[in-house]
C-alpha cells in the first residue's frame, strides 16, 4: 500500500465527529459471547464428570425424541451422543454397511473405539425406534452397553400414536425411577419442565434474531450456541447474555461484505463436528437465517405446560409432535416450514440429506414440491456425507442457487 494514502485517513485532516449512536455491544459488554461455547465440550465434560462423582447418573441420548425433562427430574445428566466426526467412520464400517448414513456410522464408530468420553461415562443410553439404520445399530451397541429403547409410533398425529407414546414415556419414567432409585414427583417434573422451557425460550429468542434483515449473527455462529448437555445453568446464563449482546447489535456481522442471500436450511441435523455444511453455505454468498432440523429450531418450537395435571402426559405430547421424516404422514414438517418461512423471510430453501438417510431423501420429494408450489421459493437438495472432499461439489450447488436467487441478468431474458 502507498504510504501517503495510509497516513491520511480522513479528508482534509478533519476529525470525524463523535458518533451519536449508542455504544456497540462490543464497547458496552465486551467481546462476542462465543467464547463460552467455544469451550463447550470441556464444560460439558467437567460438568458430567463432577455430577457423576456426586452420584448423579449420566445418560446418553441419541435423538430429540428422548424426553430430557424425565432425565433432569431424576437428577440425571442427559448428554447428546450423536457422532459428527468422519474420523470414527472407518471403525464403524468394519461391521456396518458403507452406504449407511454418516451420523449413525460416526456414532457407532465412537462406540467401537470407546473414544467418546460421554459415552464411556454413561450409566444408560436411551434410544428410539426411529429409522431402521439407527434401530439396528442400537441393537449392536446394546450388546455391551446398558440401553433403553423407546418405541416411537411411526404414524403421526393419531390419537392412538399419542396414547402409545404417552404410555412409552411413562414406562421409561418408571424405569428411570427404578434404575436410579429416585421418585419422579410432580414437583420435580415441573421444575425440569420449567428448566427446559427456559432453555428452549432462550435459544428460540437467539435464533429469532436472524429474522432481522440483516441478521446480527450468522447461521454458523448461531449453531455454536448449543450444548451437548441440556439444562446446565452456566449455559442458560450465556444464552441470555448472547441474546442481549446480539440483540443490541445493529448491521451485518463484520465479515459480511456483499448482502448475503437469506436461506432456510431443512433436513438432517448438523451435529457437533459436522457443522461444515453450514460453513460452506455461508462461504458461498448466503446466510442461513433459519434451520428447521434437530440441531436448529425443530425441537425448540414447542414448550411443555408446566402446570399440566399430568406432567408426563404433557411431556409426551410435546415430543410426539416432533416432525421427523421417520413419521408418516409428516405434515407437521410442512406446517413448520410454512411458519418459519413466514417468520424468517428466506429467499430460498436448502435441504440437507446425509448420504444413506432414506427417510429424508425420499421425503425431500414432498418438501421440494411444497417449497416450490406453496412457499414459492427456490429449493436445492444437498446430499453429502462427512467427507471434507465434498466441499467443492456443495459449493458449486450453493453458489448456483445464490446466483439463481440474485438473477445474474435482468428479468425478461437479458440481451442477446
Amino acid at each position: 500500500m502507498n504510504e501517503s494514502a495510509s497516513s491520511t485517513p480522513t479528508c482534509g485532516g478533519q476529525r470525524a465527529p463523535a458518533s451519536p449512536l449508542a455504544p456497540t455491544p462490543e464497547q458496552r459488554d465486551g467481546p462476542a459471547p462465543l467464547a463460552h461455547f467455544a469451550q463447550m465440550i470441556d464444560h460439558c465434560l467437567d460438568y458430567a464428570t463432577a455430577a457423576k462423582a456426586q452420584g448423579h447418573p449420566v445418560v446418553g441420548i441419541m435423538c430429540e425424541y428422548t424426553p430430557r425433562e424425565v432425565l433432569l427430574a431424576a437428577g440425571a445428566v442427559p448428554v447428546c451422543l450423536c457422532g459428527g466426526s468422519a474420523a470414527t467412520i472407518p471403525a464403524a464400517e468394519q461391521s456396518l454397511p458403507t452406504n449407511l448414513c454418516p451420523l449413525i456410522k460416526s456414532t457407532f464408530g465412537y462406540h467401537v473405539q470407546r473414544s467418546n468420553p460421554f459415552l464411556e461415562l454413561a450409566d444408560l443410553v436411551v434410544a428410539e425406534t426411529t429409522c431402521d439404520g439407527k434401530k439396528k445399530m442400537f441393537e449392536l451397541m446394546g450388546l455391551n452397553r446398558p440401553m433403553w429403547i423407546l418405541e416411537l409410533p411411526h404414524k403421526a398425529d393419531t390419537p392412538a400414536a399419542l396414547d402409545a407414546w404417552t404410555a412409552e414415556v411413562k414406562k421409561f419414567a418408571a424405569h428411570v425411577e427404578a434404575r436410579f432409585g429416585v421418585t419422579l414427583t410432580v414437583e420435580k417434573l415441573r421444575a425440569a419442565i420449567q428448566r427446559m422451557n427456559r432453555e428452549r425460550d432462550l435459544r428460540r429468542r437467539l435464533a429469532g434474531l436472524l429474522a432481522r434483515d440483516p441478521p446480527p449473527l450468522t447461521g454458523r455462529e448461531l449453531l455454536q450456541f448449543s450444548s451437548l448437555i441440556s439444562g446446565m445453568e452456566a449455559d442458560l446464563v450465556q444464552y441470555e447474555r448472547a441474546w442481549r449482546w446480539y440483540s443490541a447489535r445493529r448491521g451485518p456481522p463484520a465479515a459480511a461484505r456483499a448482502k448475503p442471500v437469506r436461506l432456510l436450511l431443512t433436513g438432517v441435523p448438523t451435529v457437533h463436528g459436522a457443522e461444515r455444511v453450514v460453513e460452506i453455505i455461508e462461504a458461498s454468498g448466503a446466510v442461513v437465517v433459519c434451520t428447521e432440523n434437530c440441531t436448529g429450531l425443530k425441537p425448540l418450537l414447542e414448550d411443555v405446560d408446566p402446570q399440566a395435571a399430568d406432567p408426563l402426559a404433557a411431556i409426551a405430547r410435546k415430543y410426539e409432535h416432533l416432525p421427523c421424516s421417520i413419521r408418516t404422514v409428516n405434515r407437521r414438517r410442512l406446517e413448520t416450514l410454512r411458519t418459519l418461512a413466514t417468520a424468517f423471510q428466506p429467499q430460498g430453501v436448502i435441504e440437507l440429506v446425509w448420504q444413506g438417510c432414506l427417510t429424508y431423501e425420499v421425503e425431500a420429494v414432498t418438501v421440494q414440491r411444497f417449497v416450490e408450489t406453496e412457499l414459492k421459493l427456490p429449493y436445492l437438495k444437498l446430499t453429502t456425507d462427512y467427507s471434507p472432499a465434498e466441499a467443492e461439489r456443495l459449493r458449486l450447488r450453493v453458489e448456483a442457487l445464490v446466483e439463481t436467487v440474485r438473477r445474474r441478468w435482468p428479468a425478461g431474458g437479458g440481451g442477446r
Binding site: A258, E403, P410, G415
Partner: protein
C-alpha cells in the same frame, strides 16, 4: 472493448473473447486440461488475444467459470457453470426451456424461465452419464473418442448395457465383447446408456425446447441417443463445448453494461 469468458472445465479449458458492444465473437479457443490449469488458462488467454491482435488492456472484464473457476488469475469474478451455461444458451437460442449439459465429469439439467435459471439438477457422483465414462469405453473398445459416435452409427443391433455403475458397466462391456458382440453395437449401447442415465436427472420433466450442450454433444449420435431417451426432439447447441465460456463472456458484457447484479464486487 473486449469481454472475456474462461471456462476451466474438468477435461478442457475454453477461452472466448467477445466485442462488448456488439456481443459478437472475436476469438474462441479450447485446449485439453493439464494439471497446472491456471498456467494453461493464461497461455490460452494470451494466445486468443494475440491471434485477435489485441492487448490485455483492451479486455474490460473477465469472468471465469467451470470447476477451476477460482484458480484463474485473469478473472475479475467467478460465476458457476450453471449460470454461464444458461446465459450462453439464452443468447443463441432464446426460446430454450431446458438445457442438458453432458460434461467431462458431470452432467446437469437446467430449467430456464424468462429471468434465467429456475432450478437445476446435477449428477457429479456417478461416472455413468458423463463424458469421462465415454472416454473409458472408447479406450476399452480401442477407438479414439471422436470415432465412438461414428462406430455407434454403424451398429446393427445396439447392445443393452444394464449396469448403472460405470465400473460394472465396463465389466459388462468386456463380457459382451467376449461373447462376440460387435464393437459398433457396444458403442451404440454405451451412448444410449449414458443418455438414459442423464434422462433420470429430469425428475421435473424436460420442457421443450430442450438444448443439448457440453463437449460430449460433439460425439456423433449423442443427440439422437438423448432424444430417444427423452422421447422428444432436441436442439444441438452450436459449438456446444464453448457454451459456458461464451455465457461467462456474455455475463462479462452484462457487467460492463451495468446490467448484471455484481454481488461479488
Amino acid at each position: 472493448m473486449i469481454a472475456c469468458g474462461i471456462d476451466a472445465g474438468s477435461r478442457t479449458m475454453k477461452v472466448v473473447l467477445l466485442d462488448a458492444d456488439t456481443r459478437q465473437p472475436v476469438r474462441a479457443l479450447a485446449a485439453d486440461q493439464q494439471p497446472r490449469q491456471a498456467e494453461l488458462a493464461s497461455a490460452l488467454y494470451q494466445r486468443a488475444l494475440g491471434e485477435a491482435g489485441l492487448s490485455r488492456f483492451e479486455v474490460a472484464k473477465t469472468v471465469a467459470t467451470g470447476y477451476g473457476r477460482d484458480l484463474i488469475v485473469e478473472a475479475d469474478t467467478a460465476i458457476t457453470e450453471i449460470t454461464c451455461h444458461a446465459r450462453g444458451v439464452r443468447s443463441l437460442l432464446p426460446a430454450a426451456r431446458t438445457l442438458v449439459d453432458i460434461g467431462g465429469q458431470d452432467s446437469k439439467v437446467i430449467h430456464l424461465d424468462a429471468g434465467g435459471v429456475r432450478d437445476f439438477v446435477l449428477n457429479d457422483r456417478c461416472a455413468a452419464g458423463t463424458g469421462r465414462f465415454l472416454e473409458l469405453v472408447a479406450q476399452r473398445l480401442g477407438l479414439p473418442l471422436q470415432d465412438l459416435g461414428r462406430a455407434a452409427g454403424r451398429a446393427s443391433q445396439p447392445a443393452r448395457i444394464t449396469s448403472m455403475c460405470a465400473v460394472f458397466a465396463e465389466t459388462e462391456i468386456v463380457s459382451l465383447l467376449a461373447q462376440g458382440a460387435a464393437v459398433e453395437d457396444v458403442a451404440a449401447g454405451v451412448l444410449q446408456a449414458v443418455a438414459d442415465r442423464v434422462a433420470t436427472l429430469g425428475s421435473r420433466g424436460f420442457a421443450p425446447p430442450v438444448v443439448l450442450t457440453g463437449g460430449t454433444a460433439l460425439i456423433a449420435g449423442m443427440d439422437q441417443a438423448l432424444a430417444r431417451a427423452l422421447g422428444q426432439e432436441l436442439v444441438l447447441a452450436p459449438d456446444p463445448q464453448l457454451t459456458a465460456a461464451r455465457g461467462a463472456a456474455l455475463l462479462a458484457c452484462d457487467w460492463i453494461r451495468g446490467t448484471m447484479l455484481a454481488a461479488d464486487s
